[in-house]
């Protein structure tokens, strides 16, 4: 039930406010307010170590949020993001544990092998989602909800909820806790993914096709877009990005955990919609999603600094999601009036 028209550019009379809103103005405002308020209330926020921590969290939220954005701009929905993160974390650690037993001297090769395995699993999940959504035209919401149940079941069945230790030490120090040019490695990875997404959306046929499929599947097909293939690529890329997140999280935690990613579906959807991705598809930009993810990482850090119970943080996250959408809706309505 969402009868109001989409937030598509109303070209006829673009006032300054309109353009500001279209260019992600709400997110930027949110972000600036959050940063300034946090820095004023809690000066420790600006410590170098804390900022690096924020950047790590931001990076690990940004990658799956971009995955969510890819699927949502293609008109879909992915509730299985968190479950893919969990299962790929388990796969990463399991491959590393088994591999280092056989080849103790080839640490780097085994780390790469575990990355390939995890991303392969993510791609497979994405392909399955896409097959069910695109070929059988089932509801993406239900398909990915069911997929979440299946994946969590698999991850928990094989680990019984117990973390898998025995991850290579160089993997932990080199990737998860490593830095390059003074910034966390995971941030570099996330920024590369972000730039890849921006380039894809702005300059490639694939990017245009995803928008086309998301805004109107039938007219996209009529104008010659290979809709099934486009959807498949969107879901597979999303699965691979979620798996990459699981790989990186494993290196940060130092173990493979089947219980991570529980709130990621919510967080990535929050980042995407606060970043202006339309739930009806066809609208959304990677750079705005990145700003929204940074905003969420900042408020999560602020709450940690002032020692808000992690359960209340979930409450705040839910409230922020609803309030951000309500503001968006009300502004849209005002502009249309």
């Amino acid at each position: 039930m969402a009868p109001l028209s989409a937030a598509k550019p109303a070209e006829h009379r673009s006032s300054l406010l309109d353009r500001f809103l279209m260019q992600g103005g709400i997110v930027i405002t949110f972000l600036i307010v959050a940063v300034v308020a946090t820095a004023l209330v809690e000066p420790r926020f600006l410590n170098r170590l804390n900022l690096i921590n924020v950047m790590r969290n931001f990076a690990l939220l940004l990658i799956p949020s971009l995955a969510q954005m890819l699927v949502m701009t293609a008109g879909g929905f992915d509730l299985s993001v968190g479950a893919v993160v969990a299962i790929s974390s388990v796969v990463t650690a399991a491959v590393m544990l088994v591999g280092s037993g056989y080849f103790p001297d080839m640490e780097i090769a085994i780390i790469l092998l575990s990355l390939v395995a995890a991303i392969g699993v993510g791609a497979l999940v994405g392909l399955t989602n896409a097959g069910l959504v695109a070929s059988l035209s089932l509801s993406p919401f239900m398909v990915t909800l069911a997929m979440m149940s299946v994946l969590m079941g698999i991850a928990l069945y094989f680990t019984q909820g117990i973390p898998i230790y025995g991850v290579a030490q160089s993997f932990i120090t080199g990737v998860g806790r490593g830095q390059f040019l003074g910034l966390p490695i995971v941030l570099h990875v996330a920024l590369v993914v972000l730039i890849g997404c921006i380039v894809m959306q702005r300059f490639t046929a694939l990017g245009r096709h995803i928008y086309a499929v998301g805004s109107d599947l039938r007219s996209a097909r009529l104008s010659g877009v290979a809709t099934g293939r486009t959807l498949a690529i969107a879901y597979v890329l999303a699965g691979m990005l979620a798996a990459l997140t699981g790989f990186l999280m494993t290196s940060r935690l130092g173990s493979g955990q089947s219980t991570i990613g529980g709130t990621l579906a919510l967080e990535t959807i929050a980042a995407a919609v606060i970043g202006g991705v339309s739930l009806r598809g066809g609208v959304g930009r990677a750079e705005h999603v990145a700003l929204a993810a940074l905003f969420l990482a900042v408020i999560a850090n602020a709450m940690n600094l002032v020692q808000v119970d992690s359960k209340y943080q979930t409450l705040v996250l839910g409230a922020v999601l609803i309030v951000a959408l309500a503001i968006d809706r009300l502004l849209l309505r005002k502009r249309q009036a």
Binding site: S149, V150, Y157, D309, L325, R329
Partner: protein
Amino acid sequence: MSTPSGTKAQSIGPLSGAAVKDMLLAARLPIAIVVTLVLFGIVEPRVLSLGNFRNIAIQASYLSIFAMAQTMVILTRGFDLSLGYTVSLVSVAASMAMVAMGGGDASILYGVGAGVLIAALIGLANGLLIAGIGINPLVTTLGMANMVMALASTISGGFPVTGLPRGLTAEFAQGTLLSIPIPIWFAGLVFALLFLTLKATKFGRSLYIIGANPRAAVAAGIRTLPVLVLAYTLCAVLAALGALLLTARTGSGEPNLGGNLTLEAIAAAVVGGVRLSGGEGGVGAALLGALFITVLSNGMNLVQIDGYLQQICLGVIIIVSLIVNRDVARR
């Protein structure tokens, strides 16, 4: 009940092959329930015992209440992802209210009052955000789900609330009326009321019209705001009823009571044939769906299938039934 091909099966005269096929498709869920029972019964004879049938009926009555609640909003193209955690919050809050009022049997009323009030507020908020402001129901109720979950686990400190009135469990979980367990009465009552509401009231018909075509509903003069707000409030209040019955059964207020219920309730409704795109299905479908899922999980429990494997099965069942229902709808 409301299976899409139900009307086609009413051909008159000698039964043609196609008519038989239509009838089988219309009755696919009852058939699936019987087949599932028999298959599990072959492996584990206890599945087919009278005592187990009674168990299944009791278990299904809880799930069916949640599935019917969910159906009321799915009919409008909506969703309530906060249903499961509403169950948790109501369980905890109602228990705390009962304990605070002395924990005697008279305090049950306060618990019921507190639970229903909280649920009504959640439903009201959902409805106003969705229909009043126009936020997507999935995201609204997803956000609400997390807020409610946080409340449920913080007000209780994460621990079960104990010291509930003895009468609660004795009457509302173990009690019987005409030798039928009380939970089954409640499920039957909810079914009857919702069935009549959907068939015979303006509100019920409005739900279908809004779900089938929101614009046509507005054009037809239906005031969608009050209808939707009522639908979400009704859904939450019914969830509260189920939560109170479940609390009576466990004998304590449980912050984790509703964790999987959102998925199971949606699964039951969808398996039963309630269309996610709105406007099609009914509470009968939800009831049958709930019965099927209960039979399945009861059977898996009795043949001792790992809980995590059951979770995998639930996901697969949802996808399979989506495919089957879609194919039936296309015929």
